[in-house]
Every structure is written in structure tokens, then in C-alpha cells.
């Protein structure tokens, strides 16, 4: 296979997970701005060649709209804080009262975190190859992945069918004047789709579909299902314990470990019964490995800081906390490392984007 035109979906998935950590776990504006910078560098270098590049603009506009909406919304309605910028007449409903610097900062950082979240996903959307991503569906949800892949593959045919049916009905004199006139379009589309499903099922059978998932004994299936059930229950209790039982850290940790372990075992056991073959393998290149390793290290570093020094990430401008955010250069470097996809762009690809 020739040089890949983007990084491996696994590398991009690792990048997404690493970039989501700061976007979702802090409201410190310095870290959020660095996350935005890393996302923008990655998009500018890699994203423009994607067929879905238009979605970047939509995400940016939507995020900016939310941000611009959030700042005045919070600044005008939250009258708390010690830094009073000015006062509106108290008789004015909702917005009357002191307008504080703390509220302004809170609105700024709240909207910024939402914008960072949106742009990280926007980069992922335009950069990753959706078809290849679907082919990576883990074994334990392999069949859900097959259904999704079929659906993605058939969407263009559905659109083409819609056009064909519409033209055919127009030839017969059908005009779209109201909702009721959609019936002669929707019904043939549905019947065509279901007929196509029948043909697809027959062709799948003809090609030997059905042998991908090895049969499990009843006992094995029950064991897997029980493990999933126990895993979910323990994880649920553990998550509740994180908030409600802060004094029982060992118990909470144990519940999370048991829950996670049970789920991992069930997923592994179910996944190993799936036999898969690949027509074409994605070749791992140096850039893929670098992005994967850098993202994993950034995520790991952030997680360690989160667990060991939660105060580094914490920012809340209202009293008794300081309205001025702190900055740890090490955390900043971790986030900047997420610009790696953009910085690793090969010269030939860089030429293609300009």
C-alpha cells in the first residue's frame, strides 16, 4: 500500500482520547487555549484534504456561537463574586444587580471548554477515515460494526433511490405540496430498502456469512453475560462511590477494579470467538507510531497529574478560590505535544494542502 494520506485510525483514536482529557477535565483557560492551539495545528496540517472538511467550519461556528452566548448569559445572570465591574438597577428582572469579574471569567472558561471539546472532535471527524475506523471495531461488538458498515455503505444508495423515486413520481404528475404528499415517496423507498435487505441477506448467505462468530456453549454465554452484569453493577457502584463515599477509597477502588476487570474479561472472551480476515491491512508507518506514542504519553501524564495533583487542574473563579488561573509548564507541554499530527506532516502532503 502506498503512503497513507492520513494517520492510522488507532493513532487518531489515541489522539482523540488524549485531547479530550484536558477539554473535559479542566476549566483552566490556559490549558484550554493550548488544547485549541493543538487542535488547530492538527487541522491546518491534515484536515483540509478530508471530504468532511466542511464539518470543521460548522463545528467552529457552533462552538463560537455557544461561547459568545455563554459569556453574557453567565455574566448578566450570576451576581456573585467580589470583583464588581458595574451594577445594573436591582429592579431589572434576572439581570439586575452587580456584574462581577468572577462571573465573566466563569462564562469565558465554561464556553471555552465547550469550544475546545467541539474542535477536538472536529479534527477527529475530518482527519480520520470513517471506513477504516469501522473496520477496527473490536471483536466483542463485531456484529454491531458489520451492521454499521452496511448502513454507511448503503446511505448513498438510499439517497440515489430517493432521487429516482422522486423523479418517477414527478413523471406521473406527483407534486410535493405538503407533508401528506411525502407518502408516495416514503413508501416506495421503504419497500425498496427492505427488498434490498432481502437481496443483501441472500448474497451474504451465498458468500458464507454466518461463520464469523464461533458458537459458545450455553454455560460460556451465561458466564459472559453474568460477567457483563456484575461488571456494570460494580462500575455503577464505584462511580456512585466516587461522589458519595469519599472516605471509602479502598472499597471504591476495589469496586471499579472488579467492574472493569469483569467487563474486560467478558469482552475479551466474546471477542476471541470472532474470526476475522482482512483483505487489506493498513501499513503502520513511523508517523502513526509517533502520534500513538505521543498521545499515550500525554494522556498518561495528564491522568497522573489529575490523580496526584488535582489542584493543578482545578479552576473555579468564585470565592473562596482565586479568580486567577495558575499554570504548570509541564501540563502545558503535555497538551502542546498533541500538535504532533500537524508537526509530523510529510513535506509531500504539506505540498498537497497548499
Amino acid at each position: 500500500m502506498p503512503s497513507n494520506d492520513t494517520f492510522h485510525p488507532v493513532a487518531w483514536s489515541a489522539w482523540l482520547a488524549a485531547a479530550l482529557l484536558p477539554a473535559l477535565s479542566t476549566r483552566n483557560p490556559f490549558y484550554l487555549c493550548l488544547t485549541l492551539l493543538a487542535a488547530a495545528v492538527s487541522y491546518l496540517a491534515l484536515g483540509r484534504r478530508s471530504a468532511l472538511a466542511k464539518s470543521w467550519g460548522a463545528f467552529v461556528r457552533f462552538g463560537a456561537f455557544l461561547w459568545l452566548l455563554t459569556i453574557p448569559f453567565i455574566a448578566l445572570t450570576a451576581h456573585h463574586g467580589e470583583i464588581v465591574l458595574f451594577r445594573l438597577p436591582a429592579s431589572w428582572p434576572v439581570i439586575g444587580g452587580p456584574i462581577t469579574g468572577e462571573a465573566l471569567i466563569y462564562g469565558l472558561t465554561g464556553g471555552l471548554s465547550l469550544l475546545a471539546l467541539l474542535l477536538v472532535f472536529a479534527v477527529f471527524n475530518v482527519a480520520v477515515d470513517q471506513g477504516r475506523l469501522l473496520r477496527m471495531t473490536p471483536g466483542f461488538i463485531y456484529q454491531a460494526g458489520v451492521v454499521t458498515a452496511i448502513a454507511v455503505a448503503f446511505v448513498p444508495q438510499m439517497v440515489a433511490s430517493w432521487q429516482a423515486i422522486r423523479e418517477a413520481q414527478q413523471v406521473r404528475g406527483h407534486r410535493l405540496r405538503g407533508v401528506r404528499d411525502l407518502l408516495p415517496l416514503i413508501m416506495p423507498l421503504l419497500v425498496t430498502a427492505l427488498e434490498r435487505a432481502m437481496q443483501l441477506a441472500e448474497s451474504m448467505e451465498a458468500r458464507g456469512f454466518g461463520g464469523q462468530v464461533l458458537a459458545a456453549s450455553a454455560r460460556q454465554r451465561i458466564a459472559e453475560q453474568l460477567a457483563i452484569l456484575v461488571g456494570l453493577g460494580a462500575l455503577g457502584a464505584g462511580f456512585a462511590g466516587l461522589g458519595f463515599w469519599p472516605g471509602h477509597r479502598v472499597l471504591v477502588g476495589l469496586l471499579l477494579a472488579v467492574g472493569g476487570g469483569a467487563l474486560i474479561w467478558a469482552f475479551w472472551d466474546q471477542g476471541r470467538r470472532v474470526r476475522r480476515t482482512r483483505y487489506r491491512r493498513w501499513r503502520w508507518e513511523r508517523g502513526d507510531r509517533v502520534v500513538l506514542v505521543v498521545s499515550a504519553l500525554a494522556a498518561l501524564g495528564w491522568l497522573v497529574a489529575w490523580l496526584a495533583r488535582g489542584d493543578w487542574l482545578f479552576f473555579y473563579p468564585y470565592p473562596p478560590y482565586s479568580p486567577w488561573p495558575t499554570f504548570q509548564p509541564a501540563l502545558g507541554l503535555l497538551i502542546l505535544a498533541l500538535a504532533a499530527p500537524g508537526l509530523l506532516l510529510r513535506p509531500d502532503l504539506q505540498h498537497m494542502t497548499t
Binding site: 473535559l24 466542511k54 454491531a144 454499521t148 448503503f154 435487505a197 455503577g236 461522589g243 489542584d311
Partner: protein, 276 residues
């Protein structure tokens, strides 16, 4: 109790527990009141990350449970094609929050059962996000919520002797689901936007449940109620106008496909493989 029933029971239990956890992940802003003050602020901003993670795990567990055995080619094909159709219907234009994406999960869930409805609803959102480049933090929430639309529709009583009332019942159902969907989908971003608890619409860590509910109700009415009324009205209209003919087609094809969507099938030696 036969083994098949045990497995069905376990699949149902997994769906129930995952749904309850998913509901908890949606509703976490209402349950932070009991957090002790020392830990509360430190974890206030972690919560969205943790609950998105929990939702993803729940979705993975449900998909693993429902698709853990070999599905028949007919089931895979019908689910895949209807998912594509539902994803295409999502882009049908309409006023306010109108979206035709609920039409098929409601009708297919009602006709083919809750498991099929859940899978169709959840996967429709996934496919729609993949083809439209709209994968975002809202996606696990949307997948769960639309999955529930199909799941709950599968629990509606069939009206074999009152076929003409089916569209009316489904239209009312679609109207209710349209509003409920909007009300719970707003919760995921409410904590991001809100810093104005005292102003009557916002959220802040440590709010007790009743003020939080009151503030959320005010926030919902002020921001998206009219949008959701458009969605609910669109659902009701589509189901009223197209519900009966679509159900007729789905029922006709159900007998043609001859599948019965059940979470689990155990084959004994005396049974030959047959479509489910």
C-alpha cells in the same frame, strides 16, 4: 427455567442495568448535592468526562450482550438497511426541532420488538454522525436516548383488534418522546453553560436536587422548549400520517424475513439452524 430463558433474562437484565446507569449519567447534575464539600469542587469538572466514559462502557456492554451470538444474515441486513434509511431521514428538512429520525425506531421497535428498536435507534445516530462528520461528545448521549426511544416503543401494547387506533396511539407516544428526548438531551451541556444558579436557571456543584430541578425546568423552558415542541409535533404528524402504511409494510416483511428478534438463541442437537 430453560437455558434460553436464563440467557434472555440476563440480556434483559444487562439492558436494564446499563439503561439505569445511562440514566444516572444523564441525570448526574441533580445528584451532586450529597457530595462532601471537600471533594465536591475538586471533582466538579471531572464529572462530564467520567460520565461520558460510563455511557460508552454501558453502550459497549449492551451491544456486546445483544450481538454476542451469531446473528442471522437477514437480521443483519434488515438492521443495516433500516439504519441507513433512518440516518437518511434525519436530514429531511423541517421547521424548528423537527427530525424524522425517530419515525423508524418507533415503528420498528413497536413492530419488531424492543431489542431491534434499541439497536436501530442507537445505530441510526451513530451512522448519521459518521456520514455527517458530527461525531461529538453528545453522541453517546444521543445514541442512548434514541435507543431508548426504540426500546420503549417495543414495550407498547399491540392493538390487534384496533388497528385503526394504532397510528393515534403511536402519534401521542411520538409526541411525548419528542419532548422527553429534548428534556434529557439538554442536561449533558447544562453544567457547561450554567454558572448562574442564583438567577434561577443555572447549575453549580453542590446544588440540592429540588433547586436543581427547578432551575433546569426554567432553563429548559427558556431555551429549548419551543424547539422540542417542533420535534414532538413533527413526530406526531409523521406517525399519524404514515404510521399505518409503514406498519403494514414492516409486518408484511416480518413474515417474509421470518425472524423473531430475541436476545439469545440456544440450538440443541435436534434443532437445525433457522432464521431468528
Amino acid at each position: 427455567m430453560t437455558e434460553t430463558r436464563t440467557q434472555k433474562l440476563l440480556s434483559g437484565a444487562i439492558l436494564l442495568v446499563a439503561s439505569l446507569l445511562g440514566l444516572g449519567a444523564f441525570l448526574y447534575p441533580f445528584f451532586q448535592a450529597s457530595l462532601p464539600s471537600t471533594g465536591m469542587m475538586a471533582h466538579a469538572t471531572d464529572a462530564p468526562l467520567l460520565f461520558i466514559l460510563l455511557l460508552l462502557l454501558c453502550l459497549a456492554a449492551v451491544f456486546a450482550s445483544l450481538t454476542g451470538r451469531q446473528m442471522t444474515s437477514k437480521l443483519v441486513a434488515v438492521l443495516g438497511i433500516l439504519t441507513a434509511l433512518s440516518a437518511v431521514l434525519r436530514v429531511a428538512p423541517g421547521p424548528a426541532g423537527f427530525s424524522a429520525i425517530f419515525l423508524l425506531p418507533i415503528l420498528a421497535g413497536y413492530c419488531y420488538g424492543p431489542t431491534f428498536g434499541f439497536l436501530l435507534g442507537a445505530l441510526s445516530l451513530l451512522v448519521s454522525a459518521l456520514i455527517g462528520g458530527s461525531v461529538g461528545p453528545w453522541m453517546p448521549y444521543q445514541m442512548f436516548a434514541t435507543g431508548w426511544v426504540g426500546l420503549l416503543s417495543g414495550w407498547l401494547p399491540e392493538l390487534p383488534w384496533q388497528r385503526r387506533w394504532e397510528p393515534v396511539m403511536l402519534a401521542v407516544w411520538g409526541w411525548v418522546l419528542g419532548l422527553v428526548f429534548g428534556a434529557i438531551m439538554n442536561i449533558w451541556f447544562w453544567p457547561f453553560l450554567a454558572g448562574s444558579a442564583q438567577a434561577g436557571q443555572g447549575w453549580q456543584p453542590g446544588m440540592s436536587i429540588w433547586p436543581a430541578l427547578r432551575n433546569y425546568a426554567a432553563f429548559y423552558v427558556a431555551t429549548s422548549l419551543w424547539w422540542d415542541v417542533g420535534r414532538a409535533g413533527g413526530n406526531a404528524l409523521l406517525l399519524l400520517l404514515f404510521g399505518a402504511p409503514i406498519l403494514r409494510v414492516l409486518r408484511r416483511f416480518r413474515s417474509r424475513f421470518r425472524f423473531d428478534v430475541v436476545p439469545e438463541v440456544v440450538l440443541t442437537r435436534s434443532q437445525s439452524p433457522r432464521p431468528q
